[in-house]
Symmetry: C2
Subunit: 112 residues, 2 copies
DNA sequence: TAAGAATATTCTATATTCCGAATATACACA
DNA sequence: TGTGTATATTCGGAATATAGAATATTCTTA
């Protein structure tokens, strides 16, 4: 039972574990947006965005509402915003480490 | 730049996106533990635990301290505990959805 | 120094994630 | 009904993650 709960938690973290999906949530943090406007703000492929939205939907992180032609997305549970806020605080207090990690990520990328 | 920051954030979430690593952090939440005691508490393979610890280390989520034969791990930044706390609140307020998702995870697992 | 304990690393097979291309679906409106 | 727009799904291949087995490293102590 405990293990199932951890699997569930992990699946939520997994859903957050992609830069594009983080960007989506940052957009939705300002309120409901259509898929189209999200796409324009992020400058990402339509199909790709749709796939990422599908992941967020499947984890119940966002809800969608159809209005005619368009589909509007919003964050389902406001507590998730707090998660992002605390994470922001984590990143700030961790800034020195973060910078170092960014550099490593960078140099690893160059090494490829 | 914004994109790099999101990649960094995603990498932190990624590090949390595994049931075993969540379990590790739940153990470390109670304080410093040796790899051995973590392993005993979790009942997981030694090599496997070591790999998961390596991931948490590489993301600077935990620190380790060598003492003789053993290596003691602890959570590096207490703000991370708050992240876990808020997440816990998220899971609680989301419980209905969570139960539904658990069932889906379950049935998907069975389907395989 | 040899043996044993604790931990890390490497290797290999498998599973999962990700992207773009192509295609499908749903709606709007002429 | 036909055409265009918005969104979702499917497919294939590349990249990444995961587990366990085998091996390496480091330390302790006889």
């Amino acid at each position: 039972m405990q293990e199932k709960l951890r699997t569930y938690k992990a699946s939520i973290f997994q859903a957050l574990a992609h830069p594009t999906r983080i960007a989506i949530l940052e957009v939705l943090r300002e309120g409901e947006h259509s898929a189209r406007t999200i796409q324009e703000k992020l400058g990402v492929e339509q199909a790709n965005l749709s796939q990422h939205l599908a992941i967020l939907r499947s984890r119940q992180i966002v809800t969608n509402r159809k209005d005619g032609n368009q589909v509007f997305y919003s964050i389902r549970n406001p507590v998730l915003l707090e998660v992002l806020d605390v994470m922001r605080r984590y990143f700030q207090t961790n800034l020195a480490d973060a910078i170092q990690m960014l550099e490593e990520v960078e140099s690893e990328a160059l090494a490829r």
